[in-house]
Amino acid sequence: MRVRNRLTSFQHGVLIIGALIANGIFSLPRVAAQDAGRSAWVVVAFAGLVLLIVALLSNRLASYFPEEDPAGWGLRLMGPIVGRVWLLLYFLKCCFFIVLTMRIFAAIITNRMLMHTPSSVLAGIVLLLSVLAAVIGISGLARFAEISFMVWLPFMLLVVATLLRGHLFHLQPVIGDTDLSALLAGAKSAAFSFAGFDILLFSYPHLEKPQNSARAVFWAMVFVTAIYTLTTVAALAFFGVEHLTRLLVPTLVMLSIAETSVIERFDSLALFMWLGMVVVTSGTQLYMGTRLIQGLIPKANFEKTAVFLGAFLLVSTWGETPLRRLITFADYFGTFDILFVTLSAVLLLPLAYFVNKRERRLGR
């Protein structure tokens, strides 16, 4: 039985949420607070709103090509040379994204839970599951994202619940003890956690009701921004800025404090359940990477390409890299990712408008 390759608006939204939320949420409060101090949650909300606009612009860009994804319209829009360079850069971005996602997740687990397990094994498992999820296609990814989302949501509510144990003075003044340049630097750092929403460019052609896409994108981005903001508020109120900036993964530490009479250590369970969200993120990037190869090599078979790409990336799982170094590298990579996606949306949108207008005039 073939999987029906059509997405509902809900699946579209959840796929975007799944692509956005992965490892970034673990370190986001610290990353934002290092620059913006007590105003960290404000800059997270601000970054979310700015990227909401970028996401809506991307959605508009995708709407000009309702039957194709960037692998199809990339060359048509930018020509064979610039188009191929763009596709290649995009592909490399996806590869780095996958490697970082699985390596950081594996490093977090080996740091906190399975200290003697080689992180390459865990990274390999994430990669293998991502290949499996991507091979099924966009609808398979979306359904996997739905399940992961439902499993993960209660754990995030636990993080927000810790807000009740915090002190409000840690959050005050809301703005005032940090200068504008620090706030902007904080917003830039926080923006990295929003990387991944460009999956909407690839899922748009598979929508049952493309006219509802903007609404799904809007709510997905608002939801993620709200979760990120609340997590940052909770972490700030709970630890205070001095303690928070010294914790590598503060969100996970907050989870470790949540205890019940049945389950004493929620962080271990949450970390295990988190695998689903990580697989959705790396799976979407693998899907995009595979489609981009198809854009560069039109005759390439999707499933075989996805498996080949997965096997190629398996090499990168080898060896142990300290978590701190990985996170530092992720910060640099995040700048490139967000810049690439934002510039692509802003520059290609007017181009798409004129190309679309011209093609319509020519009756194509």
Binding site: V121, L128, D177, G240, E242, V253, E264
Partner: protein
Amino acid sequence: MITARRLLVLTLTICSLLMTGCWDALPVEKRIFATAIGLDWVPEQPHLTVTVIHPLMEEKRARENRVLTFRAHSFGEALAMLHHSSGQQLSLGVLSVIVIGRQAAEQPLSSFVNDLMAHPDLRLGAYVLVASGTAQELLAVTPPDHQRIAVHLRDVLHRAVRRSDAPATTLYDFVTHVMTPGADAITALLSPIGTLEHRPPPGQGAEGAGGGGQQAEGGGKNALPSPPPEDVQVVGAALWQGDTMVGELTLPMAQHVFVAMGIADAMLMKVLFAPDERFFPGGSVMTLSIEGARADWSLDLAEGRPHYTLRLDVRLSLHNYAGTVDLSKQENSELFEKIIASTFEQNMLEALQRLVSTGSDALSLGQLVRLKYPAEWDSKGWRDQLKTATFDVQTKVEIRNMGLQLLRLEPVDK
């Protein structure tokens, strides 16, 4: 066919995921699940004495082996010694309490906290408390039958929380207060009694050195028999300045500080009133049940000297009013409320002055300066500035419940 192959791959993946635990598999007999850690300081090198309570040994009731003690230069070194001597791996995942001996608490504890927080398997919800003597003594107390000392200490703190005798300071809360400028930690101060020689002299009761223990005497012939002694009791609160303990409060003083912090709901307070023939003919100690306390702090800074005004709104019930005045009459109850408010103000001022004289900012008063006078805020010089702080307390008391009877129940005409 394709589906079957995918299912096979998926099954293999899940199996391999579950089997990753094999690398980290460690038989339970190779682990030490510490439920309590004690830290003491001795003047001779190496300074630290680390005590670890081992529950598996505890179950065997082999008392001589229950407490593991190591002398070391640092906590990390003590853990390494434990690992080498026993061949077992320490797990702090079920840690209940961290007991810091008084002398150890008076030394800077940053390195201890760092070593502790570096442990990958640490329960951050463990309570931090200070032993009035040594941690070893406190942890060596024989708990009631069928109880473990760590769980028992945690229970004692829980009871104290319910009575609001002492805040149960968790490790993460402690560390946050240690690190935050303009906010310091306050932890429970416990003492062993009953089974050791540290039982307080008769008359002081379980409430420690404050005025609380005098109620039995003040009650005269109506005094109740004193409760059975607890083997561990809360005797007050330890005050910290950063990572060092700088002073302590008696239990009555600590209770007033908790009222000032606005965390005294459902607290029972024994209050010593000035002699008053009309209201307190039989004795001047009364138990008040605080049902709600709202503390509103404001600050003025004049020539770098902070002046705090505390407006307290206290709603309380009388627990053992033994006077003959009819409190149902408005003029009487209003007068009584004023007497209570005035006593509260005096006690509160005394407790606050004692608190700031130690240089500890357990009330997070520095945060008020940081927020209201950001230009004047000097986080490094705050501990000296705090000592110059003055206070004004304005209390409004509302008696919610005077009891079912208006007057004393006693034999009539016989």
